[in-house]
């Protein structure tokens, strides 16, 4: 009887005592998800709705009063879709970044825009040579809102400097020899 109770108590205690975190820690690495594919597709969709209450006594409001049509509240909605894709075939590679935006607020009418931020065809016959033709966004520098030597890139949105930006049409050749 006592033995039975003792066994039951041990069982209860063993169930209550938490196991150490790494007691059965097992790590695995499944490579199948990382095999190189001939094509890749990615992107995101973003919906945003916001309301702004305006300070009608401020100087800035007085200056824009006519533009704001005497409103003291502005509602704004926007939707963004960004799609990226890549296709590889032997020495050739094509990639694109398609950006589509639709936004509307109480003051302005609907504004819609869609365009390729990037669309490039690249030829890479060997590691020492690459040729690219198309619309391409070059990046130069880690400045948060402004890059003093970013001569061939569009200005950043200071509110969201990480957003992708439209490129320029160009031909880029890179030849490295040793």
């Amino acid at each position: 009887m006592i033995k039975e109770r003792l066994t039951r108590a041990v069982w209860v205690v063993s169930l209550l005592v938490p196991l150490p975190v790494n007691a059965a820690e097992e790590f695995s690495f499944d490579m199948s998800s990382y095999e190189k594919r001939s094509h890749e597709l990615g992107g995101y969709v973003e919906f945003l709705a916001d309301r702004q209450w305006l300070n009608t006594d401020s100087g800035a409001y007085q200056l824009a009063e006519e533009l704001l049509q005497n409103r003291n509240i502005i509602n704004h909605q926007s939707a963004v879709i960004e799609l990226t894709g890549k296709y590889n075939r032997e020495n050739w590679q094509g990639f694109f970044n398609l950006h589509a935006l639709s936004e509307k607020d109480s003051v302005n009418s609907r504004d819609e825009d869609s365009q390729f931020y990037e669309a490039v065809l690249a030829y890479k016959p060997d590691p020492g040579m690459t040729a690219e033709l198309g619309k391409r966004a070059l990046r130069w520098g880690k400045g948060y809102a402004w890059n003093p030597v970013g001569f061939v890139e569009r200005s950043k949105n200071p509110d969201e400097p990480d957003l992708s930006r439209e490129g320029y049409t160009m031909l880029v050749m890179d030849i490295t020899g040793s």
């Binding site: 790590f27 490579m31 590691p127």
Partner: protein, 246 residues
């Protein structure tokens, strides 16, 4: 007098010979360890897992290539927020390329591009014999113990104590010390695996550090293959295109 001097010279020469034989043997073991861990030029895939004290995990997958004694690149494949980032090591110099920044940034060996206990020199590790000399060597029951000293002060750890498994001639435990004698971290190699083409080595590396109590980092190895690359690959200009080598 001359006889005494001769005896002294002979004994000194004998002692020096013994030391040189011992150092040579230790250096041979280190060279063997390097070749068993990885070919001189190769490609491989790695998963890095950082585990925080509350159990939170952060995982990274890297495609890594190396050529010769001092050229190495690691490209991030996962998580998606890091995809396309790559790091280049040329000797003691390291750079990090971030697609949204464009221009490669200089980084140091003691920083970490992934956070956690592994630092950049662990992630972009060259052969041990490239960075260390064998100072002393002892044999234990199942292992050799090598005491290694950094060749110069640009190496991340000043001294290493390396226990080498006698059977497979690969490290099983490495303690890394600062010049002050402080233990910086301990590396544990495990899960000896046959990767093919004569490469039999540990598939898992775990590390912990008294400087990061209760933090742990794990590195899992996969698809280690001998492969030669052109020198042009190991340049700053090539970093945005490393993906095309896969």
């Amino acid at each position: 007098m001359n006889k005494k001097a001769g005896q002294w010279l002979a004994s000194t020469a004998g002692l020096l010979f013994c030391f040189s034989v011992m150092a040579q043997t230790g250096q041979d073991i280190l060279l063997k360890v390097d070749r068993n861990l990885q070919p001189e030029s190769y490609e491989m895939y790695r998963k890095l897992i950082n585990i925080e004290p509350d159990g939170t995990r952060k995982e990274f997958v890297l495609y890594t290539i190396k050529k010769g004694q001092e050229k190495m690149i690691a490209l991030f494949l996962d998580p998606p927020s890091e995809k396309g980032r790559s790091t280049l090591r040329l000797g003691e110099n390291m750079w990090l390329y971030i697609p949204n920044v464009g221009k490669p940034l200089r980084i140091t060996s003691l920083q970490s591009v992934v956070g956690g206990v592994f630092n950049n020199s662990d992630i972009l590790r060259l052969d041990y014999s490239t960075e260390y000399n064998v100072q002393s060597y002892t044999t234990e029951k199942d292992s050799h113990l090598l005491e290694l000293k950094a060749k110069d002060n640009t190496v991340a750890y000043d001294r290493l104590k390396m226990w080498v498994d006698k059977k497979n001639m690969v490290p099983i435990r490495i303690e890394a010390y600062a010049a002050s004698g402080l233990l910086i971290k301990t590396l544990h190699y495990s899960k000896i695996t046959d990767f093919g083409d004569g490469i039999v080595r540990p598939a898992m590396l775990q590390t912990d550090s008294p400087l990061y109590k209760n933090y742990k980092s794990v590195m899992l190895f996969s698809k280690i293959k001998k492969r030669n690359f052109a020198d042009e690959v190991f340049t700053l200009n090539y970093l945005p295109r490393v993906e095309s080598l896969r």
